[in-house]
Amino acid sequence: MLRYTIRRLVGAIPTMFALIAITFFIMRIAPGGPFDGNRKVTEVVKANLERAYHLDDPLWLQFLRYLWGVLHFDFGPSFKYRDYTVSELIWQGFPVSFEVGMWAIAIATVVGVTLGTVAALRQHSMIDYSVMAVGMTGVAVPTFVVGPLMQIVFGVSLLMLPVGGWDGSLERKIMPIIALALPNIAYIASLARGSMIESLRTNHVRTARAKGIGGWRTVTRHALIGGLVPVVAYLGPATAGIVTGSIVIEKVFSIPGIGRYFVDAALNRDYTLVLGVVIFYGFLIIIANLIVDLCYALLDPKVRYD
């Protein structure tokens, strides 16, 4: 497995390179630049601004200079947030996005798998239908509706929880985590239900039952392991996506994560910040996919890497 892991990581390098190159050149195709927004700047001063950031060099030279920086873990200064480098912005924002995201995934997984399993065990009963109905609602109602609704109820009317902001306290974490977990609970529940239903019908589970192993143990030790495979497959990229910040949740609850950098940096033509978050996100996805594949090996004895 170790050799497999190393092979995967080395194989990720050309992927990252392609990612950086494509993002770099696509950003430049979009019209306008980081210093174009101000119509009062004279041409000479605009040229000075661009020169200060090496934007007047030929494109291939800028690209090479950027790659050289990346190899030294220097992602450059942000063009829009002048007081910070891209590394500082990501370093400060990511732990927050990560915390909200990981809690949301953890809650979504535990609750989702439990609900899905219960629904699978009581297939076609009231419990099954109600779990699926709640699931459907959770997926259908968007976070930008659920979030503000929670803010109005718990923040403004009942004054139980703060409306937004982030200071590390529990009361500021509750609503965003739950709002982020809800659509995922729904999706994971339905994934888990489907695969558990299948798993409960397999030969080895039937054998376990026939041998007299009690209901709950059958479920957890025999059926669940196999039933988790699709959930794990979903969780890999989903985790990468969620921990890099949900832009909607972060905007609605005013959380200082990195979610909004993805969109706002592009609109601001903040080239370095866009590249920085894209590289970061790409790297996380690669790691997440690797972990997912390693988990397959743990869950399914038929899968072996060498």
Binding site: T42, R82, V163
Partner: protein, 535 residues
């Protein structure tokens, strides 16, 4: 209960008691803290780089320029307690207050102010606001210094004959100069910390300023926390101990935070809730016109928009009041001149539509368009370009409907993301452009100067009479006389219908009733040092 659980209970009670014991005295000497809603995260707190109007609030709390702006927006002495203007209006001598100090106790001298301006102009700083010193007012040799043709700072029109005097030499007299010599433009430079930390000298912990507050914390996308500066010359009169600028990206979330009491003032009010909030909160809703003016521009290089009759017709077909009151409801004020009504001493011209009734306007519009050769069998096709901003898109739709109803115009509405929109503007592929301009100071000149053919703002307008009048106005020292000439120039601009004015934007805030000292004003001056909290 066992011994163990009894001991645990006693320990719990004691620690809770201790906590209260510590908290109570702390609560008794609570500091006043003002939580100000800030909107989106500040782009920079570097005073010589910052170009944002909201960031300027923080800058005004952290630093003080030669002049200052009062709570009501008027120019008042800042770090300079008085000044003299020469008879020709070209030399201003500022006399600094005695015993000025930096926040770390070091003495603050005249040369520090000059160094601040020079840093703003320096190409290495990559600041966008150097143009204040050579476009808005003309300090000698600042343009050359910014562009690199003048390398010796001694040749720039800024001198400090002694530690308490700053002398500014202008190429042209500028009665409006005092609006552009406040903390936004003339923050002094603390050379020792800049030399030590470079651009990081603005970070909390490194920051040394001369304003009423110092920077305590700056957490991106969360908040900026300021603390009272005991070395500020007027610290005795600063009532609020701490100011927290709270970042909230989403305008609806900001409103909810205000309603929940987490912030005491907001940066903005959601347009669609204005009416409801005014009914519910009354005096807490503060609206005033701002220095932003909104208008549509015509591409006079592209037929048929080179025909002034077409332009006039399109302008006349617009029902400006209905557009604001019935369609947009954002509180903007309909406008009939290019320069908005930000200066009460300016008696500016208006377009003819201002005095016409709806029927008159529409009839005249149809007549003009028919004269220009358009009618039901030859409908005028107009492309209207705006950004993706929601209010702008609604405005564009409303204009298209008005033009269709009155003139039978076939309008093609396009919207583009901001950068692309700007790019298209300079490329010239547009008919009519949904435009706006923010003035640099509350006077007509800042808007009219932008339209000078020589300023090459992208409108391709040539008019020697206008250019000459604007140049003449620039040499006049007497404010009243200057405004008269500007009014003449504006009349030429309006008569040519290069643009058709639409409205003046407003600035909108919610302010809790216990926050005192917040005065609505057109320059959006709301320094924390003039505010207090009355619980």
């Amino acid at each position: 209960m066992s011994i163990r659980s009894r001991l645990l209970t006693v320990a719990a009670v004691l620690s809770i008691g201790a906590a209260y014991g510590v908290m109570l005295p702390m609560a008794a000497q609570a500091e006043t803290i003002l939580n100000r809603g800030f909107g989106a995260s500040p782009h920079t707190l570097d005073p010589h780089v910052n170009f944002g109007a909201r960031e300027a609030w923080i800058q005004d709390d952290l630093y003080e320029g030669l002049v200052a702006t009062a709570a009501d927006g008027k120019v008042i002495p800042g770090a300079a307690e008085s000044w003299d203007i020469s008879d020709d209006g070209r030399t201003i001598t500022f006399h600094l207050r005695p015993d000025l100090k930096w926040s770390n106790g070091e003495p603050l001298v005249a040369q520090d102010f000059i160094n601040g301006i020079l840093r703003t102009l320096d190409a290495k700083t990559a600041s966008e606001k150097g143009y204040y010193f050579y476009n808005v007012i003309q300090i000698t040799n600042t343009k050359g210094y910014a562009e690199g043709t003048v390398t010796d700072p001694a040749q720039v029109g800024l001198k400090a004959p002694d530690d308490k005097t700053v002398v500014i030499s202008l190429d042209n007299p500028a009665p409006h100069a005092f609006f552009v010599l406040n903390s936004f433009q003339t923050t002094p430079l603390h050379t020792p910390s800049f030399e030590k930390f470079g651009e990081k000298f603005v970070e909390a912990g490194n920051q040394v300023g001369n304003g009423a507050y110092v920077l305590k914390e700056n957490v991106p996308q969360s908040h900026v926390l300021l603390e009272k500066n005991p070395n500020y010359w007027n610290a005795a009169n600063v009532k609020i101990d701490k100011v927290r600028y709270v970042v909230t990206e989403d305008v609806n979330t900001e409103l909810k935070r205000y309603q929940a009491g987490e912030i005491d003032t907001t940066n903005e009010i959601p347009s669609d809730q204005r009416e409801a909030l005014k009914a519910e909160l009354g005096g807490e809703v503060r609206e005033t016109i701002s220095t932003e003016t909104m208008y549509i521009s015509f591409n006079i290089t592209k037929p048929p928009f080179d025909d002034v009759r077409v332009r006039r017709a399109l302008s006349m077909a617009i029902d400006r009041e209905a557009l604001q009151d019935k369609v947009l409801k954002a509180g903007y004020k309909a406008n009939y001149s290019y320069a908005p009504a930000v200066d009460p001493t300016y008696d500016g011209p208006k377009i003819a539509e201002a005095g016409m009734s709806k029927e008159e306007r529409e009839e005249k519009a149809r007549a003009l368009l028919a004269e220009a050769g358009f009618g039901p069998d030859n409908p005028l096709k107009v492309g209207l370009l705006s950004t993706t901003d929601e209010t702008e898109k609604r405005e564009a739709s409303a204009l298209a409907i008005m033009w269709k109803q009155v003139l039978g115009v076939q309008a093609d509405l396009q919207n583009q993301e901001f950068q692309a929109w700007l790019d298209t503007f300079y490329a010239g592929n547009w008919d009519v452009f949904n435009d706006n301009l923010v003035g640099d100071f509350p006077g007509p000149e800042t808007y009219l100067v932008y339209m000078k053919p020589s300023s090459e703002a992208g409108y391709n307008w040539k008019n020697d009479e206008y250019e000459n009048l604007m140049n003449k106005a620039a040499t006049v020292a007497d404010p009243a006389e200057r405004l008269k000439i500007l009014a003449q120039a504006e009349k030429i601009l309006l008569d040519d219908y290069l643009t058709a004015p639409i409205a003046s934007a407003t600035s909108r805030h919610l302010v809790k009733p216990y926050v005192k000292g917040w005065v609505d004003n057109v320059v959006e001056s709301h320094p924390s040092r003039f505010m207090s909290i009355e619980q």
